[in-house]
Symmetry: C2
Subunit: 386 residues, 2 copies
């Protein structure tokens, strides 16, 4: 397939933006990305969003955001795959460039989750699980994660306290990320003292719902402006894989098969092994998901993923840095925007523009986002060409 | 780009399916399409849906439907662009095959709109218009159409009664469509006597909300089974174009610019002129939209589209048959499924499998669906290769 490269990156502060509308938030990220791309003109727009039809009464986001961004008339659509929406949207944009249908594609993720109080947001989030067989029984996304964590503790003998390493690492990295929701490092003690939310998930095992927008502009390398000011980053691998929507339909619920397969396929396309990557922007919506995706991607054996945080393998200087800008846990989790934040962060790493968060000598990055318990998994390999 | 052909077609009865779940409805259409495609195995699924997150509490439809259809593990996603969702989903599938990312793609549209009573469904429908500037003022999709029809009557001098020809034609064609919601011909008198719903729109100017599912399987021609039993239909042109979401932002609201541009681009790609097509599955969600799209596509001059129904140009034996299976008006309008129904119907015409609804010697079909007042327009050209 055609080479597809990243031309522009944009992101807004993640947090609670009660005074900014959905379209304005999206526009902020888009304008930054367009400036970053040196004036390339997008011909198509893919919008990633999960909950605007429910929480903002607004669907039809393709036309809305294209119009508001001054791009009236371009091809535009919205895609949704729960927490994997961002990765799926990036793949749609990638396919559009790869097919030769558009030269320059803008992919924007935007979400406003904090205008509504907790229960309403959680009910909206629960549209991502099986409504007829799970949500109707009260099973929400965080309850799914709690069931999986309990099962993991039971089956593997991992110590409960060992999960601390993931939020501790995430918060440490977020402290130097100006866009992060929580820029405060936490200690293991803070983690251990945290209140229980959804037993055994405590407050720090759960990424916060947030508002935010992030944007990526992709194109073919030969279309970049002659004086393109950034090191070149290629989308070298792209894969979306699904699994059963309902957790109870899985023979081995602790094995995230779609996460595994999508990593394998994205890496195969990129011509690398997962072990070749220099950082892994994983989907730590719950700390147990960080563990399960490390195992699914092959970085740890079954039942051993929790050890990676203990040995400091996952810090910026470790052998496999994760959540390098704070991850979902500390940068914040703005739903459909999250997958695009991950791509923006990984691309900044590969450009060498990550400042205090820089992973040394980063050449390959693996980026993965999940819808539900990896009911959808989208994985991308980014590669620096400089 | 790679040739992309239609391998399988499936549709369910359009109507009120209170006893069938969303996933079951989708499955019925998928199973028919898979049988029709002679056993081709889909590698990717694109789901078109507008309102399930609001009306059924269910998002994440890619994973849900892939799983329920026995395709667990394939790539899957959902796309949304209001009433244009079906056409946009077909285009996503098309790009996936054209990019070489998947050999066989299943595109399914599914919608359940009748489980909720009128007001709730209309509120959900109103998520397709601009929530901050239109819906908040009470402007719903049918109110938009009413404004446009009033303006059209005022500006062009078209007689109010002249709109009758569109629903009369649609109902006549639906009478012999076993999948149609309303299989009853109506007379001009019936139209003229109909109650006013949203002045000047009467009951027969408005397509009914409905439940339904339709599916299309597409692939590269060389991958078809050797004894493929159907005449070959190619997707020769594909285009999605947007316009302002809000109607008040348009300098000339009666000109559906996105509808015009998407027809031009799809026809250019197919190497034909709009006047070469043998039938036009247009988007008659409101009779005024049938008129405006005929004008936008160039089949009639500005202010003259209403005459096409009077001169019987649009009947099955006319020079430009439209709504050949009843259109949105009489087949019914199951939201995100509608655009796929249109493609199924056009493909049956080109295969020569349309029975009593057959348009003689049909070689090219133009299919168009709209989100809002052509805020998104998706146009496809289908061509028979036999």
């Amino acid at each position: 397939m055609t080479d597809v490269v990243i031309a522009g990156l944009g992101q807004t502060q993640v947090g609670e933006h009660w005074d900014v509308s959905l379209r304005e938030l999206a526009l902020q990220a888009i304008e930054t990305a367009r400036q970053d791309a040196g004036g390339l003109q997008p011909q198509a727009l893919v919008v990633s969003n999960m909950l605007a039809p429910n929480l903002s009464g607004q669907a039809h986001l393709g036309a809305l955001i294209a119009d508001f961004a001054g791009l009236t008339g371009i091809e535009a659509t919205a895609v949704e795959a729960a927490g994997a929406s961002g990765g799926v949207a990036l793949r749609q944009g990638y396919l559009s460039v790869a097919a030769g249908a558009a030269d320059v594609v803008l992919v924007v993720g935007v979400e406003k989750m904090t205008d509504k109080v907790g229960g309403e947001a959680e009910a909206a989030n629960a549209t991502a699980v099986d409504s007829d067989y799970e949500a109707i029984q009260g099973l929400t996304p965080s309850a799914q994660a709690a069931l999986l964590m309990r099962r993991y503790l039971h089956e593997t003998g991992a110590p409960r306290a060992s999960f601390a390493g993931f939020p501790v690492n995430a918060h440490a990295n977020a402290a130097s990320n100006q866009y992060a929701m929580f820029r405060k490092a936490i200690s293991t003690e803070t983690y251990n003292r945290a209140g229980m939310v959804n037993d055994p998930l405590n407050l720090f095992d759960i990424a916060p719902n947030a508002d935010g927008a992030a944007a990526v502009i992709i194109t073919r390398p030969e279309l970049l402006p002659p004086a393109f000011p950034h090191p070149l980053v290629r989308l070298s691998g792209s894969s979306v894989v699904t699994d059963t929507l309902a957790l109870h339909d899985r023979p081995a619920p602790l094995v995230f098969n779609a996460a595994r397969l999508s990593v394998e396929r994205a890496c195969r396309q990129a011509g690398i092994l997962p072990t070749d990557v220099d950082l892994f922007e994983l989907f730590d919506s719950y700390s147990i998901y960080a563990v399960l995706t490390l195992e699914a991607a092959g970085f740890a054996q079954y039942g051993q993923g929790w050890k990676m945080a203990q040995k400091e393998q996952i810090s910026l200087q470790g052998s496999l840095p994760v959540a390098t800008y704070g991850g979902l846990k500390a940068r914040g989790n703005p739903g459909g925007a999250t997958g695009i934040y991950q791509v923006v962060e990984a691309a900044l790493q590969l450009r060498g523009q990550a400042g205090q968060n820089q992973v040394p000598h980063a050449r390959y990055a693996l980026v993965q986002c999940l819808g539900g318990p990896a009911s959808t998994a989208a994985s991308h390999v980014l590669e620096t060409l400089n």
